[in-house]
């Protein structure tokens, strides 16, 4: 079973936003019967894992402490242990992993570990980030807590919970979520249950089908439309290129972005028409770490433009556009010699 790539979904959201309730519901779904769950709890004595009832085929691991702070060791070690037990037949051959972060965790270092830790990165692929937001307290939490903004900003899918308590999906919350991450589909949950599949198809790349759910997160990219809100620092914008991009241009462009943007580049995801290939590349980066591109077998639609979606803080869209154009011009000039 060591040859299969296992998708990892990250379930995040601020304290009390309903992550554990949602996870408990998910683990009762037949599709999640062979799921390894990593629950991170802040504090020496965790409780969340006691609240989870999973099928006998599922596996629950627990880490304590703030996952994002100890991510280089605890999470990587936990993932490594899980994979080893699976390989040795000492546990169910799970076919997916779900990580429930603590409510105070910054999801970015967690995503980086999944992409960079050499003991696990080749075996795992990010299946997507699902972020829960509480309909009752969500607006005030997003106003007050920077980490909750970041949790929303990096989401591939946003779940608004406790709508049964709030009575509805507050328009002010929808407005706030749109400002932070307009590209992520938003679904509502009632007692942890949603009408939509949550973790399937939420990610950039599905290793089993070798396809990407790019249409979901490129909804706004086709127009290159930017989403700003004057009172939030995080913005989303898209760069769209009609012409194919040279592989070297892409490499230098990503290198410059990571060098100069660092932590302000919360997430970058995109589909790129590489000049030297008929197959599209899916790129994915978190802050200064980029995953090697995943090559799709075919384009998901007739739209062959390169589309890069940025979720960033203090990074002008114009600078990104000029940077790409200038590097491409230089690479073209060198190539022509």
């Amino acid at each position: 079973m060591t040859d299969s790539v296992i998708p990892v979904s990250v379930l995040t959201g601020f304290l009390g936003s309903g992550k554990t309730t949602m996870l408990r519901h998910l683990l009762h779904q037949p599709d999640f019967s062979r799921t390894a769950v990593i629950i991170n709890e802040f504090g020496e004595i965790g409780l969340d894992h006691e609240l989870i009832e999973a099928s006998q085929d599922s596996l629950i691991a627990l880490t304590t402490g703030c996952l994002c702070c100890k991510v280089r060791t605890d999470l990587a070690q936990t993932l490594h242990d899980l994979l080893q037990r699976r390989d040795e037949g000492r546990c169910t051959a799970f076919d997916r992993i779900v990580i429930e972060t603590s409510g105070l965790a910054d999801p970015a270092p967690i995503l980086q570990t999944l992409m960079t830790d050499e003991t696990v990165a080749s075996r795992l692929v990010l299946g997507g980030v699902v972020t829960t937001v509480d309909a009752v307290n969500g607006v005030s939490t997003l106003e007050r807590e920077d980490i909750s903004q970041k949790q929303v900003a990096v989401a591939d899918r946003i779940v608004v919970t406790k709508t049964d308590m709030a009575g509805s999906f507050p328009p002010a919350l929808r407005h706030r979520l749109d400002a932070l991450n307009a590209g992520a589909p938003v679904v509502t949950a009632d007692h942890g249950q949603t009408a939509s599949p949550l973790l399937s198809g939420a990610g950039l790349y599905d290793p089993r089908t070798r396809s990407a759910d790019v249409m979901a997160w490129l909804t706004d990219a086709a127009t290159g439309h930017a989403h700003h809100h004057h009172d939030v620092e995080i913005q989303t914008f898209a760069i769209v290129r009609e012409e194919p991009i040279r592989a070297v241009t892409l490499t230098l462009f990503l290198e410059a972005l990571t060098e100069h943007c660092g932590a302000d580049l919360l997430r970058l995801k995109g589909i790129v028409n590489i000049a030297e290939s008929s197959r599209p590349a899916v790129v994915h980066g978190v802050q200064h770490v980029f995953h090697p591109p995943a090559w799709l077998d075919r384009w998901p639609s007739d739209d062959r433009r390169s589309r890069l979606v940025f979720i960033a803080r203090h990074i002008p869209q114009r600078w990104v556009e000029v940077l790409l154009a200038a590097i491409d011009a230089e690479v073209a000039a060198v190539s022509a010699k």
Partner: protein, 100 residues
């Protein structure tokens, strides 16, 4: 900037100042550019045709070669902000193209 659009390079430098939140301006200087910020000025010229570099960057009386625009930006930023700690993670887009 013999084989690159000099206006595009100057635009990149100007936009970079804004992105770095550095107050300053970019002026034309022969075939190159002059970046001025406070009391500091950085001159950028195209490298001689036989040089391995593409750009020559002069800051604080010292001239250094830059092999690409990415290197040029790094040098300009380091000259403007001595405390700038560049991210040393290098991106390897490997493989550059798929095997099939």
């Amino acid at each position: 900037m013999t084989d690159a659009n000099p206006d595009l390079v100057r635009a990149l430098l100007a936009e970079s100042l804004a992105a770095w939140r550095v107050t300053g301006r970019v002026e034309r200087a022969s075939d190159g550019a002059l970046v001025i910020s406070g009391h500091k000025s950085i001159r950028i010229d195209p490298a001689p045709p036989d040089a391995i570099f593409r750009w020559m960057v002069t800051a604080d009386g010292r001239m250094r070669g830059a092999i690409s625009l990415v290197a040029l930006l790094r040098q300009v930023r380091e000259a403007l902000d001595p405390g700038y700690a560049k991210n040393r993670v290098r991106i390897a887009v490997a493989p550059l193209v798929p095997s099939s």
